[in-house]
């Protein structure tokens, strides 16, 4: 089973990272450090869920190809 995925995911993660950085900056400027940290955390979790899906896809592919 070859998992079809594309370069879009890379751009998506980059966009989320930049947006989280901007949010962090804005919130820190406004003196809301705790919310800034929470947004960073939320961004990390969102990206992590997307990344984990792809990693499991890779593992499945390797497992089927090499009969592991």
């Amino acid at each position: 089973m070859i998992v079809k995925m594309d370069i879009n995911l890379l751009f998506k993660i980059a966009a989320i990272g930049i947006l989280v950085a901007v949010l962090h900056q804005v919130l820190v400027r406004a003196g809301r450090e705790d919310q800034a940290m929470m947004t960073t955390l939320a961004g990390l979790v969102i990206v992590l869920t997307m990344v984990i899906k792809e990693i499991s896809g890779l593992f499945d592919t390797v497992r089927t190809i090499f009969n592991l």
Binding site: L10, I13, G17, I18, A21, V62
Partner: protein
């Protein structure tokens, strides 16, 4: 043209990582992870052909098919372990990386026990009594 795809993905990922490292280094690791996954998946498509050829050759040369299967498994383990090890090293966790290396080596040795033992048997047969 798989190679152009791979190079393209790698270069784009490089630019994204350089960009992200200034602002949020946490996300840069994810990008490099995904790049690794993407490139490996691209390679896997090619690998199926190579593996098919190998199995064909093995059946024609009437090599014990369990050995070929074992060999393939070991290659798979090595690829996955290498993937994890390089990610750990990139993130600066060389201790965990070396543990993964040790683990993969031990698993590979444990899996290749039948091959080693049959090799020893062959040697014993060849040796004059």
């Amino acid at each position: 043209m798989e190679i152009i795809k791979i190079i393209g993905i790698a270069l784009i990922a490089l630019i994204i990582i350089i960009l992200l490292k200034q602002y949020k280094p946490e996300f840069a690791i994810y990008v490099s992870l995904i790049t690794g996954v993407l490139i490996l998946l691209l390679i896997m498509e090619q690998l199926t052909g190579i593996i098919g050829l190998l199995q064909d050759l093995a059946t024609k040369a009437s090599v014990n098919s369990t050995f070929i299967a074992l060999l393939l498994k070991i290659t798979g383990i090595a690829i996955l372990a290498e993937f994890a090890v390089s990610i750990c090293k990139d993130s600066g966790e060389s201790a965990i990386a070396s543990k993964i290396e040790i683990g993969s080596k031990i698993v590979i040795i444990a899996m290749s026990i039948p091959i080693i033992s049959s090799l020893l048997e062959i040697i014993l047969k060849i040796l004059p009594q």
